[in-house]
């Protein structure tokens, strides 16, 4: 993260989002109460924390005038706790301020001036970081002598490296940005740039670090006092109260336990606030990982009656939405299509048009927080969306195989490729390790990998991109699937390798009579491979038909646009016309035709009402009200 991003986050999200974080708010109120008590200590009606009275030693809690009793010297425990909290908080805040100040100065100077100064400072910081945290503090206390001030200095010093490093990192990131150059061009001096341009940008980072480190620093100073190296008796300090109360642990545990409990409460409060601030300003840290994919049961409709024996997959009215803070993203909406047994179809469109989400919806792997909100997916006459998780898992990698876009990231980097093929065989067929290994070698041979015996123990990074994609194809074929879904399976490859992979995929599908859904952004490319294509735009199918028909006489202006911006082999003179504008935001789709804002042929009634996918020829459907009339004058 960097300074400007953080400042922007302060402004945009700020308090309202922090307030939404109930835990952080709880921490904040905890800290506020403790702070208020500590600040108000002198004005509270408390006994003198230093007034000893040996005749009143170890009075039990609830005694008259002593709510929590007295300690070994007859001092009021409650009063000492409040005053002790005051000391501990003050020391912690002091230490964190010193550490933050020194660390920021070192980080700014090192990050801004770079060169030898940076090297010297950062090597020094590295050496300090090579020490176990507390030991360095101990060494410093040993040299300076025990005492609260020295303990505070020691804790501050050992925390300087953390601040210095982070600040330097932020500054290095900022120093290359335009606004720093701009300041330099206007003749601003180094001091001005450091204080006026850089400092305000690193300050939020420093504040977060301070808030996350404050609890540590309070704990560690209390620890030094506990060891007798910090605050000295009779000073009221939580750490030393705990240290001296230790002697009476077996007889009067209260004297030692209560100060520790207070430290715990303070630390919990501060940590909660610190976490809240960090979540707020560094959204990456709480980034959504994909956990168990979620599928919602959806309402059925009358599609079941229309089952046909030769239809392998029938998708009807599929809609997958992603609810987010700024609205519902309709990634896939009202998608309907069939795939016959052994048929190869393509889904084509720009990135973000919903092709991949469609594929993942079929597999039941929609990433969080996406949900399939309606529709049905009939595969071999059963509705996948109605099935239990376990049944769907058995289909995945079995009857329905998936080939992902980027073969490098899709393979587990720390497992040999052989093991990754073997596991898909074993989980579906339940065969033993040896048989699975033999079969894996056969599969590698079938996808034309040379010397499979040498390659089977290779790690993914040791293979070329084309070879990795062959491995993934081998995995997809492992259990003789009826349907293969290939998601941009050749996009990450060189053009020549692309052609080889396409040929291989074609041959293997033919050979095994497997159906294929080939997802691509390149309509011309899929022409060689597929029989039919769906063109998707902004989550909807805008045109569907035989591939030759789409290539020769596209009916939807968007399909035409896609063809116009694709280069063609052997036609270097062809002018490439990109489609002007951007696809609409999926959380704010326009009424009527989604393509209308970018369409050259738009007219008023394009922007009203729902435009249906209508049939304009045999197995040719289009979602455009002007499709028929345009075709004639565009030729």
């Amino acid at each position: 993260m960097n300074g400007t991003a953080i400042r922007a986050a302060w402004r945009s999200a700020g308090w309202s989002r922090f307030r939404g974080n109930r835990l952080a708010l709880f921490g904040l109120s905890l800290v506020a109460v403790v702070m208020a008590l500590a600040l108000a200590a002198p004005t509270l009606p408390l006994a003198d924390p230093y007034a000893t009275n040996l005749s009143l030693r170890m009075l039990p809690a609830g005694s008259e005038d002593h709510l929590l009793g007295t300690d070994q010297l007859g001092r009021d425990l409650l009063s000492r706790l409040v005053w002790g909290t005051r000391t501990s908080l003050a020391i912690g805040l002091f230490a964190v301020s010193i550490a933050a100040l020194l660390g920021t100065v070192i980080g700014l100077v090192a990050g801004y001036f770079r060169g030898w100064l940076d090297s010297v400072l950062m090597r020094g910081i590295d050496v300090l970081l090579a020490f176990p945290y507390l030991l360095l503090a101990l060494a410093i206390v040993a040299a300076l002598g025990p005492g609260l001030r020295n303990a505070m200095i020691a804790i501050a010093v050992v925390n300087v490296p953390f601040f210095a490093r982070t600040v330097r990192g932020t500054v290095v990131g900022l120093a290359e940005r335009e606004f720093i150059d701009a300041a330099r061009l206007t003749g601003a001096g180094d001091g001005y740039i450091l204080l006026r341009e850089l400092l305000p940008n690193v300050l939020p980072v420093v504040v977060i670090m301070a808030s996350t480190n404050l609890a540590w620093m309070i704990l560690e100073t209390a620890g030094l006092s506990f060891l007798g190296l910090g605050a000295q008796p009779p000073m009221a300090d939580l750490g030393s109260m705990l240290g001296t109360g230790r002697e009476f642990l077996t007889t009067v545990p209260r004297v030692a336990m209560l100060p520790g409990a207070v430290i715990l409460i303070v630390a919990v409060g501060i940590n909660l606030v610190g976490d809240g601030l960090r979540d707020l300003l560094d959204p990456r840290l709480k980034a959504e990982g994909g956990s168990q994919p979620a599928l919602q049961a959806v309402d059925r409709d009358a599609t079941r009656s229309r089952r046909q024996p030769d239809v392998l997959l029938r998708v009807v009215g599929l809609a997958t939405h992603f609810p987010q803070e700024d609205g519902i993203y309709r990634a896939v909406d009202d998608v309907t299509f069939d795939v016959g047994a052994g048929e190869r179809i393509a889904i084509v469109g720009e990135s973000g048009c919903g092709k991949t989400v469609t594929a993942l919806s079929l597999l039941g792997l929609v990433p969080q927080p996406g949900r399939i909100v309606s529709g049905c997916v009939l595969f071999e006459s059963t509705d996948l969306l109605q099935q239990a998780d376990e049944a769907r898992r058995r289909l995945r990698g079995g009857r329905i195989a998936y080939i992902p876009q980027d073969p490098l990231t899709a393979l587990n980097p720390v497992l040999p490729i052989g093991a990754q093929i073997v596991e898909v065989l074993r989980v579906h067929q339940g065969i033993d390790c040896k048989a699975a290994r033999r079969r894996a070698l056969e599969l590698l041979e079938q996808v034309r990998i040379d010397r499979p015996r040498d390659r089977v123990n290779a790690y993914p990074h040791e293979l070329s991109g084309g070879m990795r994609q062959r491995v993934l194809i081998a995995m997809a074929l492992a259990n003789d699937p009826a349907l293969i879904i290939a998601d941009e399976a050749t996009t990450a490859l060189d053009v020549t390798v692309q052609a080889q992979i396409l040929n291989l995929l074609y041959a293997l599908c033919e050979e095994r009579d497997a159906a294929l859904i080939f997802i691509s952004h390149d309509l011309a490319l899929v022409g060689q491979l597929c029989d039919r294509a769906l063109v998707m735009y902004a989550g909807r199918v805008v045109e569907e038909g035989g591939i030759k028909r789409l290539l020769s006489s596209p009916a939807h202006p968007y399909t035409r646009g896609l063809l116009a911006c694709a280069p063609e082999l052997g036609r270097p003179e062809k002018a490439l016309t990109p489609i002007a504008g951007q696809p609409p935001a999926l959380n704010d789709l326009p009424l009527g035709c989604h393509f209308a804002p970018r369409c050259n042929h738009v007219q008023d009634n394009c922007r009203t009402g729902m435009i249906e996918l209508r049939s304009i020829g045999e197995r040719h459907r289009v979602r455009c009200i002007r499709a028929g009339e345009l075709e004639t004058w565009l030729r």
């Binding site: 050496v127 090579a130 020490f131 176990p132 360095l136 190296l229 336990m257 990982g289 994909g290 898992r393």
Partner: protein, 316 residues
Amino acid sequence: MNGYILRRLLQLIPVLFGISLVVFLIMALLPGDPALAILGPYATPESLASLRNELGLEEPLWRRFFIWLGNVLQGDLGRSVALQRPVVEEIGERIGPTLLLAAAALALSVVLGLGAGVVAAAHRRRWQDQVLTFLVLLGISVPQFWLALLLILVFAVWLHWLPVSGMFSVYAGGGLIDLLQHLLLPAISLAVVATGVLARLSRGAMLEELSQDYVRMARAKGLTERQVLYKHAFLNMLGRMVPVIGLQAGFLLGGAVYIETVFQWPGMGRMLVDAISSRDLLLVQGGVLVLASAYVLVNLLADVLQHALDPRIRRR
């Protein structure tokens, strides 16, 4: 692999040199007369003068450093004034118990911390995650020395399940069972903070792994959720966490100071606290130097281990 280890060992030299320099400077630059600080206010002028001579205090600082460093390299860390014996001997007796305690705590925190992280990540935002997140918060917020006292109070004083302190029982002690009984409470107290930190970091690392393409692919292959989590994601997470685990060793070696004091554990942490109280500076110097070097070595080990775990780095 061997080349890598050799390279890392060579890189160790400047780090260890820097550590020695810092340790030396902290002790050398302390205000006042080191000889007086070492021998205390009742020392005779003759003994002060001879110690000054022995420490080479009349020499310039840089020469003193190299003389000292030369002695350190020959295994001479000086003589403890309070204990009247060579520092090396004292450390030799003390380092075993500290390493045992730290290793036990490290093992506990790795098993519990990574386990908690994986479970929390696998059940993200469900009750398991929330309970674990709460426990982690307590773990990183609790003062270890207080927790140690609490454990003694509950398990030793009230329940009489485990011994209060020490490493072996005074009577009829000395067996392995006896040692483990004495080790349990200190190791738990010491492990708590590191467990919290590891749980938090491994949850994050696990979530990041779970969002990777290879996890989606593993699910698309129809692997069971258990295989996806514990084979695919966990292996990758482990590789990432090994260096972080190495860093925890630093917290454990530092935390040992508290825990050894509370439990009267005969290790280096307690030795350091006593040495600081009695101003036994050479003992402090030697102790800090040895523990810091141990920490550096542990981190080297962690890097080598990560190297072995991750084929991408291994073959580079």
